[in-house]
Amino acid sequence: MRLSRGASVAELERVYRAGFPRFARVATAVAGDEQSGADAVHDAFVQAVRTRRSFRGEGPLEAWVWRMVVNAAKKRAGRRTASEAAETPVEHENGFGDPVRALIAALPERQRLALFLRYYADLDYEAIAAALGVTAGTVGATLNAAHAALRRSLKEAHR
């Protein structure tokens, strides 16, 4: 039987204060809007505080929290129904719909999440792996596949 190391409220507060903008940005990207993203971060940290004693200390505390934030954001995204998403007009500052939004939405979930964690949270492969529950090698392959898919789609969109 393994003993949990546990995390203190103060440790979680440090992670929260230091990383809030990054957590909020990734959660916004996953959940679909800023309010849902902020709510997801809130939900994740409420859960982290409640279950802090179950943190085993096998990896960084931040990675443990990232997993909760991603899951909370996915949960929030699930509440947005397909019809709501379809009714939401896609606007872009150049006046045209942004093709990137649609292209990213079309990516497989793991590729999408890896992209968000890489670019919005600036996490390295190890941290992304811990947050998504996969190996670092898988993260590399996933990101490569996401980049290739995006470039291919962008070229096609510009033809």
């Binding site: 204060r17 809030f20 909020a24 942004d98």
Partner: protein, 452 residues
């Protein structure tokens, strides 16, 4: 990858949401059980329950603080606040006894009319009295009126800790917080507006601005009185003679021979002898100043309406036909439009300045000279005249005069010159002494004697 990065950056900009750790803690508290269970628990585990509720959350106590603060804020339409402003120390020259002395700023603010009246006092003496329309610079009023009460009402305010401010036990409350990026380190920082409420009265006793929960230097405003009152209890009758509106000043000095000192001043001056504390009398100066008011004309009718339209078109107003060429000469006060004209100065005041210290070429001046006081070296500057005067005697209070036999010490308030300024009255003559420290000012004040 850069193209992907750029596109992702555009897709989801950095969110503007404010972090709220206290809300996380509040929602993470164990959920309340049913009343029956609570009662059962209360009867069997009363002592233990108290222990667990108190730590680590103690949130219910803090919610109580916010409710009481809201009740103490009152709901009158006019805000009446007295702020304590910076002050000095009055030192008895015989006994050395020191008493702190503060300035006060009493403010009435009527949000309905956006009207502000402020009275400045120092040592209980009125130094200024202004009546004007609120401007963006009144950040304390903005904080205490626009932000404080609404934040308490909306439940967005939160208690962040306990403290002692000016001898009063307080709770600090965050009223408003923003996460803003700093170009210096490319990180987001929490900039917050905090109000301290007394733990006894729950009324505000201080306010401050913090960055990442650390108070900015000299940014705590002490509040001596806070209330919201009915309109008919508010005092918006200002004393125009005390207003600083339109006040203009000019000043200068010229070196004189020490033998002319009595003639310039009109009586025998006080001095510190030919040398004091190792500093030779380097230069005597005839100092002069005059104060006046800028002519201001009330503008009415179509012309006033045109000016209002011009002001609302900033910054393109200068190109707008009919706008005054120099819009700086136009202002709106108390809903009325005024155009400024020339300044009319009163009679020139003369005083005597004695500089103790080295004389030489001051490198910051345009011309190479060998007779400039070197203010960067140790020095004492003694200025005297028969009447208190802002420019001749420095930037201390204008109307307040310390009792004879004492000195008012004000740190770093002599314009651009560093050090301490001391103000005193000796045989009816107003004297200012600026030197590099309190003790030097006090020893000079004790050593003053008639020139002769």
């Amino acid at each position: 990858m850069r193209d992907v990065q750029e596109r992702l950056d555009r897709l989801v900009p950095e969110p503007m949401h404010i972090s709220d750790w206290e809300a996380v803690l509040r929602d993470a508290r164990p959920r309340r059980r049913s009343l029956a269970l609570q009662l059962a628990a209360a009867t069997t585990l009363a002592g233990l329950a108290a222990l667990f509720v108190a730590a680590p959350w103690n949130g219910s106590e803090r919610v109580g603080v916010l409710e009481r603060a809201l009740a103490a804020a009152g709901d009158g339409p006019v805000l009446h606040v007295v702020f304590r402003s910076s002050g000095g120390i009055v030192v008895d020259l015989k006994t050395g006894e020191r008493k702190p002395l503060y300035g006060e700023r009493e403010v009435w603010f009527d949000p309905g009319r956006d009207l502000v009246r402020q009275i400045y006092r120092f040592g209980g003496v009125v130094e200024g009295d202004e009546l004007y329309e609120r401007n963006k610079g009144d950040r304390e009023l903005t904080a205490l009126w626009r932000d404080y009460r609404p934040a308490l009402e909306a439940g967005t305010a939160r208690v962040i800790g306990e403290d002692v401010v000016g001898g009063v036990r307080v709770y600090w409350i965050i009223v408003r917080a923003l996460l803003l990026p700093d170009v210096a380190d490319h990180k987001n920082h929490e900039l917050a507006q905090q109000v301290a409420v007394s733990r006894e009265t729950f009324k505000p006793v201080a306010m401050r601005y913090t960055r990442d929960r650390h108070a900015l230097e000299n940014e705590t405003d002490h509040i001596l009185r806070f209330e919201t009152i009915p309109l008919d209890e508010a005092d918006f009758s200002s004393a125009p003679g005390k207003s600083l509106n339109g006040v203009a000043m000019m000043a200068g000095s010229e070196p004189i021979d020490i033998s002319q000192a009595s003639k310039v001043l009109g009586h025998t001056p006080f001095w510190l002898g030919p040398e004091f504390a190792g500093l030779p009398l380097g230069q005597a100066q005839k100092a002069f100043s005059a104060s006046g008011r800028r002519e201001q004309t009330l503008v009415t009718g179509e012309r006033a309406a045109e000016i209002r339209r011009c002001l609302s078109k900033r910054p393109a107003r200068a190109r707008h036909p009919g706008c005054p060429a120099h819009m700086k000469s136009v202002e709106i006060r108390h809903g009325k439009v005024y155009e400024s004209g020339p300044v009319h100065f009163g009679p020139q005041q003369t005083g005597l300045t004695l500089y103790y210290g080295k004389i030489g070429d001051e490198p910051s001046t345009f011309k190479k000279e060998d007779s400039s006081p070197l203010y960067s070296e140790p020095n004492i500057v003694l200025t005297e005249k028969a009447k208190r005067d802002l420019l001749l005697l420095g930037f201390g209070p204008m109307a307040y005069l310390p009792p004879e036999g004492s000195v008012l010490l004000l740190p770093g308030t002599s314009g651009y010159l560093p050090g301490t300024s001391g103000y005193l009255v000796r045989d009816g003559v107003c004297i200012s002494i600026r030197a590099t420290g309190d003790e030097l000012v006090l020893s000079a004040a004790r050593a003053l004697r008639p020139m002769g």
